[in-house]
Symmetry: C2
Subunit: 235 residues, 2 copies
């Protein structure tokens, strides 16, 4: 499941790193080739199947990840056993930033779709970030982005009626810019994102289909009535 490439290869655009978030996401954008040569540890590419666990909560580790494609859920568990999805990590996003200042991963990271990622030795990133202002700034931007995301989950996905939460979630899952389509996940995952039961999730989706807010294109693939959903949220 792991294919090794050296970081120099990654930088050169060898292997199949040309489309990799490594380049496009600017995480290592400001680095010179010389910077890369400081890193001796190899970078690993990983492929996960849906359901695969990348790391568990409380686990020690020394790696940072970038998502090249696919989708990862970050899960936390409550004392009474219920689980809660606290964030989704998608293409070009970074995973495991908490290891730069702590010793343990703070979530359970599980693939929702087939996912490709790259794994970097934390030590190297830490070292580089101290010398390289662009990387330094980029890391702060990523932290801030995660924080903004967290706020959105709190306000939009965890407040108000099940219908409003669902509408907010659907709108956030829209693919590209001008698209009105989105793919959704298992009812259990949806419930765990919105803090509602699977039954309520299922019923709400059914109702949206009945009232025309959703049109099912194929299994779990929908076309949204964006205006209608926004009206529902504001009501």
């Amino acid at each position: 499941m792991a294919k090794r490439v050296t970081i120099t290869q990654a930088w050169n655009g060898n292997a199949d790193c040309l489309n990799c978030s490594l380049r496009s996401s600017a995480l290592f954008n400001g680095l010179t080739e010389k910077d890369f040569e400081l890193i001796h540890d190899p970078v690993e590419q990983l492929n996960l199947k849906p359901g695969d666990v990348l790391y568990r909560m409380g686990e020690a580790g020394h790696h940072l990840f970038t998502v090249r494609s696919g989708l990862i859920k970050l899960v936390q568990y409550l004392p009474d056993g219920t689980q809660r999805i606290v964030r989704l990590v998608k293409s070009t996003d970074v995973l495991g930033l908490e290891m730069m200042v702590g010793e343990q991963y703070e979530h359970e990271a599980i693939a929702l779709r087939p996912t490709e990622l790259c794994r970097y030795p934390m030590e190297a990133v830490t070292r580089l970030s101290q010398h390289n202002a662009v990387l330094h700034k980029d890391l702060m931007a990523r932290w801030q982005k995660a924080l903004t995301e967290a706020d959105i989950w709190l306000t939009k996905l965890s407040t108000g009626s099940a219908k409003k939460r669902m509408a907010n979630m659907l709108l956030r899952l829209i693919d590209g810019e001008d698209s009105t389509e989105c793919y959704i996940y298992s009812r259990e995952d949806i419930g765990s994102m919105l803090s509602i039961t699977v039954e309520t999730a299922s019923r709400t989706i059914s109702e949206f289909k009945r009232t025309g807010l959703l049109k099912e294109i194929s299994h779990n693939h929908f076309d949204l009535d964006v205006a209608g959903l926004e009206a529902l949220i504001a009501s």
Copy 2:
């Protein structure tokens, strides 16, 4: 409402900065006196009364704040007008980090108690963080801390029944280490933290008082049955 001190004074421990989070929180711990002299802008001390607004969402600004004493709530508003408290910022915490990577404050910051803070020009912090590894690392730690807080709000304060949320909140508001006492806020603020109505907040507190989970020491000051509350959460 604002008293000026130069940053050199702050560093020298003049003014009344001896107990200031500036020193104890390590935000500027790794800086040499020479570092400080690079900053020409003055640091301002501010005092807020409960209800005072430090900044509003979407506002442009160029300042970072540390809380010396007191408590600030960070609020966001939803399209339908409801407000949500997304975090509390207390002594030694930093406020407005988002300005380091963006142009606008992302919350409305309102004092819950009489609050003292120091205001730093963002530009100076940005500049210093690029040269000073300790400050750089400290900033990352602060971001991570905010993120961890956000996750806790999502899992513990926004999931499960009103009783469980309330129990979690009360336990988090306990003052020191070995204390079992806490001060709480208006029912409206509590509702806005837990995403419940004021009535439910009031009823839940009344019930806790009746069942002995809470003992009222004085107005909004309680002694908690920690074990009982924890049992409730795990049930």
